[in-house]
Symmetry: C2
């Protein structure tokens, strides 16, 4: 039987309050098997960028990660938030190691260029270094990955945290029985994002397509759900989109469970 | 016979130019035995603090690390510089892991309060987790430590990088044959800091005391040399204060060698 591995992606908004990180740490300390955490931090990075006087660069309505934006992302994701999580997890006796994809060459990416648009220092994942990640997990350590990868040629790259979680999950699915949890500041996928009563408790791909067509599911939720279904199809045992309270405080987890 | 371990402390000023990091990476790639790197970044942190509009807090002429300054230090040391070093080292096939003292609880510190002065979030090292650091070294990995530690109660702390190098060196001296190299933007200790011809090639403690009394050695060099002598007295085999060119480009290392 494969060992259990819980992969938790924590949304950046949750990291703005240390109490949320405390709750997450208590939850991880209680978990059976291994745990791996991935986190974002985009909102904070935008705030720091603005305070440093950098204007967000846009081309054709798409945000471009220029050198200044990459530096800020590296500071906020790999520095501020990553070490805050590590410090609080350690307080709860979770043996934690903060990492970027550059550390141990754990996640190699390629700078994205799509047709005529240069997105700047944004990386699409090419390879997860399974050996390196398994080596850390086997030490009984909880790796905490920030949303920075690299090209193994000395260039750091900004990479979506949902995608990092998904790629880590699918790469490790051969060796571990994986539960992938996308944890955000909402209770899960809802018909009306402002009404918790409209939470969708379970969703399969047919329903997802229908809700997308009806424009009930829009914007940021689409890439997240695309990642969720991709993970399921590629060997991940269990996938949820859930909130912090739903994950850490309920006796039985609630949220939106994703099915093929 | 003990395994060789080279501990290199890199001054923050050297990190402002990527080419310096490339040179260091090439040097580390050539080294026999294990390597561990420690780095600062104070000048850059001050620059970012100012750009964010934080005024440096001073009490009785001493700089205080308030919450805002600690966040900036965490961003610059653990994020920007640490990941830049890791990325460039990986490019040179050095298997590298960036760490703070919070990661794996590797360096535990206590918040400094001296008499009536509260220095803010500044930590004095209480314990190096030898087992954790040795575990990483035994994997054939080069740890790169930034100047952030923690109290294991969830609080990150700003800690001097020279002191971190020294404490790591003395903690590991029982298990490794250690060469400790303080690498900075000068060629070593000089009688006249502006004249490379006045480099002191070797210095013992009696000479250090004399030069300190004569006020030839002043300011920032004093805590560095105090650390250097402390390391020697506490089991470190070889200690140098040197420059990047002197370390990486000379056929035989030059700089100031420290003797008891």
């Amino acid at each position: 039987m494969k060992e259990k591995l819980t992969i938790i992606k924590v949304g950046g908004k949750l990291l703005e309050d240390d109490e949320h990180i405390e709750k997450l740490a208590e939850y991880v300390a209680r978990l059976d098997g291994s745990t791996l955490v991935v986190h974002g931090g985009g909102a904070k990075a935008s705030e720091i960028s603005q305070r440093l006087g950098f204007e967000p660069k846009m081309v054709d309505g798409r945000r471009i990660t220029d050198a200044a934006a990459l530096n800020v992302a590296t500071m906020v994701y790999a520095g501020l938030y990553n070490k805050k999580i590590v410090g609080i997890f350690q307080k709860h006796n979770v043996r934690t190691l903060g990492m970027s994809g550059a550390d141990l060459n754990s996640i190699r990416a390629r700078r994205r260029t799509v047709k005529s648009i240069d997105y700047g220092y944004v990386g699409d994942i090419e390879a997860v270094n399974k050996r390196a990640v398994k080596m850390i997990l086997k030490l009984g350590v909880t790796p905490v990955f920030c949303a920075i990868t690299h090209d193994n040629e000395g260039q750091l790259l900004n990479t979506n945290a949902d995608t990092i979680s998904t790629q880590l999950a699918t790469a490790l699915a051969e060796d571990y029985d994986i539960r992938l949890l996308f944890c955000m500041d909402k209770a899960g996928v809802m018909l009306d994002p402002d009404d918790d009563q409209t939470l969708i408790h379970a969703m399969n791909y047919a329903e997802y397509k229908r809700l997308k067509m009806d424009e009930v599911i829009t914007l940021g939720m689409i890439p997240k759900l695309d990642n969720a279904f991709y993970a399921l199809i590629n060997g991940v045992s269990e996938v949820w989109i859930t909130g912090l309270t739903e994950l850490t405080e309920a006796r039985e987890m609630t949220g939106t469970r994703i099915f093929e």
